[in-house]
Symmetry: C2
Subunit: 444 residues, 2 copies
């Protein structure tokens, strides 16, 4: 049964009150699939379904849900229920869930945990959610450098079970300082009397305060499955596993797309008032730039009165500038996000974007000039719209590159604010050039 | 030394012809960092730097480079050089590099490989680049279910080295049919006389023809580090490791952002003519919608002639509709990409988006009506622009939801084509409603 048909049958069973059938369908699903289902349901059905999930599954489902959806579900739970739900979860997943809660609830959940788990989860919570420390898992198996492979093997067999996603052991010294990484594959392939210190790899120790996007870059570049997390002294605190890094990458990617549209929310079925408020901010900012453009047009009322064709054609100049500018902007914002833009190559990039803008400017300006000339039977009008388009496409290339670079330098996230500024520039320059040139050359 | 300062010193050394210094700086970098550097360099410097990379590193650097950049570098190489570069690479990385080459070059590279590698790489190449088979690695250690853990341990020690990123062994029967997965951690923690068949996990066998986005979804949902790939008969072909899945996720995310701006390229320093051509397609499509909007305005020339304020205000109506529509659209496109939208919840989503549109419509319509009334001293004009905005924001909500849903049903990628269609709708409806209402109610 595919996910969509399960979803349909579940919803049907839910609406017709066949709760046993719902429970039966839920039992066949992986917690992450249940989380997906919850995300795809409107608020009322979501709450009903949540009430039917096995208490033992709640923690796993929560740890797979998106932040916004999880926050909504947590609001339906008592602190003790939250504490129960975190039992049996990996420490990083438990911390993830707690991070979203108010401080007093966190405290009461922590109090209802056993001492060891409380200490581990508290360590993670003491770091920012967006740092290596906030991402790490404190369940980690460590060994000394001065023992043999055989000793390690016997130790592991005694443990009986390794934490989830253990692909390597951490090597520490007597002061718990991280000294290296011992892949499980080495333990299995090396001779029993080899010393850990001789066969361990130098590995990657990530300071706990490293920002998460830096962590993802390290994982991607080195193709890591896991990495040690250390404090300022180099003491081993825990490890980050690639599955958590994948989540960060996904969230970042989603945010990039969402922020381009001025959306802060990530819940498809967020309450109407909540969504409307979030989006209103973006619409308000856009309205200001739209009024700015209107004001520019207003300066030329007299010109338009005498030649209405200008009003007909002016949106073309603005819109082409906006579209061309967004292309340059996307390239630059991405280059900045990947850390690939610096003083040494920005001039080359500007030059290239300018050349692309000029080339496309000439092509489309000629075409638009031709169409305008034929449409309104005025060669002068065609020449002027062609010129205005050339100017606006070059402006768009420059603005598309310079706006994100400037915002970055000012410490503002270029992914969020660049688009609206760019549109303001291309609208204003587009209307001003076109109507201005027309005022000078076309009016009697 | 951070990446950016390395980049600056490298470029300096490169430009001043200090090639020994360049080689020295390169030696300290990870192949993925060298790939990043190449990506951030303009074409000429990129070729110069490429010539200075150790031949033994070329394969590793290529396998970390973006598709477009890699294709450019491969053009600089002879088939024998490419074959040499693939020596020592994992089979999936070698196949990745070959996939970009013309068939005759692939054949001559394959011929210069040894027989075992040739067979392995050919297997991968026989599957689409975007499928599980194209992603898989054929270096895989398999064991039988009817042996003991002790036998497995001795076998592994004899092997001496496991393929990169081996976190588990694959269990197969006499016919090479996949029967389960044996994590290395189980081998290390279970008793020596336990049978593999008793302690193996049922695991996830992915058919080789599964599309790559489906593979990433499985890995994300199950938090997998690796998974077996099988043919139609269930025979083990290879395994997919999470590091390759991370690359697919990254590429998909990038493409989502790029396709919203109509960019097909992913090379910051692609040749000017190439970039200009790629982007021209998008600009051309946008120009058609802009002309459509102009044509609509043209129908109302007579109205605008009598009331130029309409020309001044009309971009506001269109632009607010476009922005509100993009917000709904982004939510729906994402819901579709995640497979979270179906017949059962689309009506709820439409209703919600309509309510959000109505709420924001009322708020901003009132504000714009007020400003327009004060600006032009005409209450009727204010009322009409307010009404037009309400209509356009509701249209935007409906179009933002229905356009991607319709495109999806028609088999067209909603991420690429939705935006331009939406703008066409909100422009046309915006101009038509505003100018139409004005023609009916404001003209004498």
């Amino acid at each position: 049964m595919t996910e969509l048909t399960t979803q349909a049958s579940l919803l049907e069973a839910l609406e017709s009150g066949q709760y046993d059938r719902v429970r039966e369908l839920l039992a066949a699903l992986h917690p992450s699939e249940i989380a997906d289902l919850l995300e795809s349901l409107p608020a009322r059905s979501r709450e009903m379904l949540w009430g039917l999930i096995e208490p033992g599954q709640e923690g796993n489902v929560l740890s797979h849900a998106q932040d916004a959806v999880r926050a909504g579900l947590l609001e339906l739970m008592q602190p003790e229920q939250v504490a129960d739900a975190t039992i049996g979860l990996a420490t990083d997943d438990a911390a993830d869930i707690l991070q979203d809660l108010p401080d007093e609830v966190i405290d009461s959940v922590l109090l209802s945990m056993d001492a060891q788990n409380r200490a581990r989860v508290s360590t993670i919570l003491s770091y920012s959610e967006d740092s290596a420390g906030g991402l790490m898992n404190t369940d980690v198996v460590s060994v000394r450098a001065d023992v043999t492979v055989d000793v390690v093997c016997r130790y592991l067999r005694q443990l009986g079970k390794l934490p989830e996603h253990t692909d390597s052991l951490m090597v520490v010294d007597r002061q718990s300082l991280y000294t290296g990484t011992l892949p499980l594959s080495s333990v299995l392939t090396m001779k029993p009397d080899d010393m850990v210190g001789e066969i361990m790899q130098s590995g990657m120790a990530i300071p706990a305060t490293t920002p998460d996007h830096e962590v993802t870059r390290i994982f991607e570049q080195r193709d890591l499955l896991s990495a040690a997390v250390v404090d300022e002294q180099g003491k081993l605190l825990g490890r980050i596993t690639v599955d958590d890094v994948v989540d960060v990458i996904q969230d970042d990617a989603e945010q990039a797309v969402f922020s381009m549209a001025g959306l802060g929310e990530d819940d498809m079925f967020a309450p109407v008032l909540f969504s409307a408020k979030r989006r209103a901010i973006w619409l308000g900012i856009n309205l200001m730039t739209a009024f700015l453009a209107s004001w520019v047009i207003g300066r030329f009322e007299h010109t338009i009165e005498q030649l209405v064709a200008l009003a007909v054609l002016m949106p073309i100049v603005a819109s082409m500038g906006g579209n061309a500018g967004i292309q340059t902007l996307t390239i630059v914002v991405r280059g900045l996000a990947l850390g690939q833009l610096s003083k040494s190559n920005v001039p080359s990039l500007l030059l290239k974007e300018f050349a692309v803008g000029a080339l496309n400017g000439v092509v489309w300006a000629c075409l638009v000039a031709l169409v305008a000339t034929i449409w309104f039977g005025k060669i002068a009008l065609g020449v002027i719209i062609g010129l205005a388009m050339m100017v606006n496409l070059l402006t768009a290339a420059a603005a598309g590159a310079l706006i994100p670079l400037t915002l970055k330098r000012l410490g503002i996230d270029p992914a969020v604010a660049s688009g609206v500024l760019l549109t303001a520039v291309t609208d204003v320059v587009g209307f001003m050039t076109f109507l201005g040139l027309a005022t000078i050359f076309l009016l009697p």
